[in-house]
């Protein structure tokens, strides 16, 4: 069953998802994972928040991935997010020059996370947003959501996703402005104020 026959015309069936579990710590997080913005870039923003479960308790073992365009709306095709040291096998950290658009963050013991990246530009009819993928022990299939930044009501009103949601649910996708380019975005996996999660078809 696990040698997939690709000779037929009708396509092939997918490999099922499983939880990331609790023990990915040596494998997935990497040095500089949350520092996507090139050093000193004037369009740098910081987004931070907490991840909560259905009883409002923070998750100490969630893993978040962020993927987004640069300020001009273009999506980078640049590698080097997890630059490696060929001598030690360790991580060198980003080079501070190139923008890969990709970050990976493990929540702290208190459920807090942050990412420092470039302010995303708009693409097509969409208001600017960062794509986010949430993984955790207990989560059998990862969850996609989006981080929209506040402040542009016109763009939000014409965004194909935001305009479909009622005000309360839409609010879960729009980060709070804390000033100085810092935004607050909490993720609630379940219950009151549950974050809007997406399914791509």
């Amino acid at each position: 069953m696990t040698k997939i026959d690709t000779s037929g015309p009708e396509g092939v069936l997918p490999t099922p998802s499983h939880t990331v579990g609790p023990f990915y710590g040596y494998a997935l997080p990497f040095r500089g994972g949350e520092e996507i913005a090139p050093l000193g870039h004037p369009d740098t923003i910081t987004v931070h928040g907490y991840v909560y479960d259905g009883e409002g308790r923070p998750l100490p073992d969630a893993l978040l991935e962020v993927w987004g365009p640069g300020p001009d709306g273009s999506l980078p095709a640049v590698d080097g997010s997890m630059r490696r040291d060929p001598a030690s096998g360790g991580f060198l950290g980003r080079n501070g020059v190139e923008f890969t658009g990709f970050g990976r963050i493990q929540t702290d013991a208190d459920g807090h996370w942050y990412v420092r990246t470039l302010r995303p530009g708009a693409r097509g009819q969409n208001a600017p947003y960062l794509s986010m993928c949430v993984f955790a022990r207990g989560l059998l299939v990862h969850l996609f959501t989006r981080i929209y930044l506040p402040g542009d009501a016109t763009a939000a009103a014409s965004d194909p996703l935001l305009s479909r949601l009622d005000e309360q649910r839409r609010g879960t996708l729009i980060a709070g402005d804390e000033g100085n380019g810092t935004y607050r975005f909490d993720i609630r996996l379940q219950g009151e104020g549950e974050t809007v999660f997406l399914e791509f078809q």
Partner: protein, 257 residues
Amino acid sequence: MTLTQHDIDQEIAAEHAAYEKRLAEGAPVEHHPRRDYAPYRSSVLRHPKQPLVAIDVSKDPELVELSSPAFGERDITGIDNDLTRQHTGEPVGERITVSGRLLDRDGRPVRGQLVEIWQANSAGRYAHQREQHDAPLDPNFSGVGRTLTDADGFYRFTTIQPGPYPWRNHVNAWRPAHIHFSVFGSAFTQRLVTQMYFPNDPLFPYDPILQSVTDDAARQRLVATYDHSLSVPEFSLGYHWDIVLDGPHATWIEEGR
């Protein structure tokens, strides 16, 4: 009240029967677990209760999620795909070679993309401080590997057969031996994290994580095949495991490449 394997077995059987009933009533095949799968207790407070909001990617080629992060030779080292060579000494256990192809739903190879793995050592112990199982750590094994797929979508790892290990879902809960995989496609929508199992493991029916995939055929796709042609003489036993990424991708972009 102590939760026993018998309790979990009954819950697993009930979930399986409910799925079979849905199928019989004409519901579609479920290739992935439901996030709400109570036999795996950690899922109870960690799944959304609101329905997911559907996005039709065919209506908007500008979606961020239709492209993928890129990875390259800077992101890996020469021995990342050989987990037996990452320390000064040899790890303990049975050496294995695990290889296969990364494909999309059309059966086309996903080239040059990142495949990451992590696993327990031969005694069933992860190199992680939160791990509570008291099996021995192996100073010569971290259990972490990384590679890029080649021009035909193939990946290949040399590692150690991982051991099964106990966990605390219920009394006498044991995970079948497995290797965790994290893979990227040509679109972020295709992102996949999963686990590969080994053929004929007697722990399969008892494990609520594997059984969360309620479709029998889908569950089989998580089990590698012993492949003698991948076994390396005097060195390792070979397992073949192809990975098929779900989720829509931007075909109109790829056709232009």
